[in-house]
Symmetry: C2
Subunit: 342 residues, 2 copies
């Protein structure tokens, strides 16, 4: 057996303490937050640890089953959407603000297919790289519910969870706001209110379309036309051109996000179509530029940053073994601006 | 000594193999990429590992000094900037696209102060949570060069590294483009070209201001006025109001990023100032909306996604022990659009 040789070769906390000229307690404290240790001493201890190639607590904690002090986010979307879709940076900003306070890290993985996705969840939790997950971009009959249940992994959903979700969830309750927006458009004389949707595979895109259709019906209209967009500026521009050529030309367009709406307004301007006089325009998200385009964009304000914060707080509570509310809803707000004549 | 008791309590790879009814090799393969193992078998093996609470390779690898298959990004900026500044999501998107191919994770930490920042680098590398770092948001005389050298950590800089940087770096070489922009403004009759800067503590903000001032001087102008912005839409609006009240009212404004420029254009429109007839406007970054505002925004296109990709590729090469080019420059492109009368 080579255990003894290993032990001889592998440095111990005592070696580090001796080299740095401090107690073992000081070494331990340095690698567990550093409370009560001066910066200079910590630097000396870290240098000693580096010199001896000594591996401190986390790896040992992982082997002994302690917490990883990290939360995983596995995203099955192209990494380039990060720079196009404002939802994820806002969510991540909220997640990070809570993790940062708790001295936790976020472990991010982008994956391209279901097999890699599944492997990735299993590895991150199995190898104790993370203590739990924040799930987002929920899909119809999301398979992650079953995978994570089998892995006995802690998780919280940021978004509308759908039926059969075994995890606590935080969503934005924008139903009332989309209804109020459509009512406002109907009250100001619109009878053909088009929708430019997000990718139909995403639950939140489906949900926005569904709420728009419900609201139109509730107001006595036949919902439509609908053009499928992809949440990008280019997609919004393309969808807008399609609507201008549509046999049933709308007098108002509700876009499933602001990026598509702003790109759409630019296409309308280019074609000499006045907003809001000829076509009223509304978006969803309230990105920081929505208030700065001309005319300012009517939209539904969603606080995704707060969604990320609450989801992460819930996950950390669960990891501490505390009771957690099962469903949390963050209110949205309708922001009527000039693009709907508001 | 309790080692034997530990060994008795702690499950081994053989226990997992026995419970799953497979070979030890199959268990090992499952937790090292899964090559040649069917999804069903992997599921069975993972379930067995979960049931026995067996900890596979990474934790063991960490103790034995193997790679963490993770790259760290430590950001000393408020987490909310994530949703406001388009640079970071684009960079991260590039980083993630390369990591995702290599089956690596990104470990993200947001910190508020220098002490926590320093601790964080030491912990991530000392505890083998990451194999190396991508450094960004470089500061004047950046202290991280010394910290990471002392920790013997691998790192690559995404951004302009400044003097004395011991690490390879990737930057966008936008010097020529800022000069060309200022020359274009001078050629079209502008004699007072203002600048709205980013936070002066950030190297890239200082650099943009410096290039603008150089170019103005090269064209025979006295650079100015300058108003300090903060890269946010609000900051851009505020700075624009200040410039309108300035004793030396400019006929052109070069904003250090697009977000401030677009917010600025909205303030100008509100005040009845026509763009480009009364004041020409230019930004920097070329965010996806720059081409969709009215008038379309002249800006310098920087491929931050590619910057993230190249930096990450360089870091992974270094980690494999390969030779790496010391300085890599990604070209920028001047995009002349209607906001400068182009």
């Amino acid at each position: 057996m080579t255990d003894e040789q290993d032990a001889r070769r592998r440095p111990t906390i005592s070696d580090v303490a001796a080299l740095a000229g401090v107690s073992k307690g000081a070494v331990s404290k340095t690698f567990n937050g550093g409370k009560g240790i001066s910066p200079d001493t910590m630097t000396r201890i870290r240098a000693a640890a580096a010199e001896l190639n000594w591996i401190p607590s986390t790896a040992a904690r992982a082997v002994s089953g302690g917490p990883a002090r990290a939360v995983g986010l596995v995203l099955r979307r192209p990494a380039e959407l990060l720079e196009l879709d404002p939802f994820f940076p806002a969510l991540l900003s909220g997640v990070e603000s809570v993790l940062s306070e708790a001295n936790y890290a976020a472990v991010l993985r982008f994956v391209n297919d279901a097999n890699t996705e599944r492997e990735c969840y299993a590895e991150l939790i199995g190898e104790r790289r993370v203590d739990g997950f924040v799930l987002t971009d929920l899909r119809h009959r999301d398979p992650r519910f079953e995978w994570l249940t089998r892995l006995d992994a802690a998780a919280v959903v940021a978004g509308s969870p759908g039926r059969g979700c075994p995890f606590p969830s935080v969503r934005t309750g924008a139903g009332g706001e989309i209804h109020a927006l459509v009512r406002h458009l109907i009250a100001t004389g619109h009878r053909t209110i088009a929708h430019v949707s997000g990718p139909p595979g995403l639950r939140h895109a489906r949900r926005r379309q569904q709420l728009w259709a419900e609201a139109a019906r509730a107001g006595g209209l036949t919902p439509g036309p609908v053009v499928v967009g992809d949440f990008t500026a280019d997609g919004g521009g393309r969808a807008t051109r399609e609507l201008l050529d549509h046999p049933t030309r709308p007098t108002a367009i509700f876009y499933a996000n602001d990026l598509m709406a702003i790109a759409g307004m630019s296409v309308l301007a280019e074609q000499g179509v006045r907003v809001p006089e000829d076509i009223a325009v509304a978006g969803f998200d309230d990105i920081s530029l929505a208030n700065y385009v001309t005319p300012a964009l009517t939209t539904v304000h969603c606080d995704y940053r707060r969604m990320g914060q609450v989801a992460t707080q819930m996950l950390l509570s669960r990891l501490r073994g505390e009771e957690v509310v099962q469903q949390f809803t963050i209110g949205a707000e309708l922001r009527l601006r000039r693009s709907t004549g508001g």
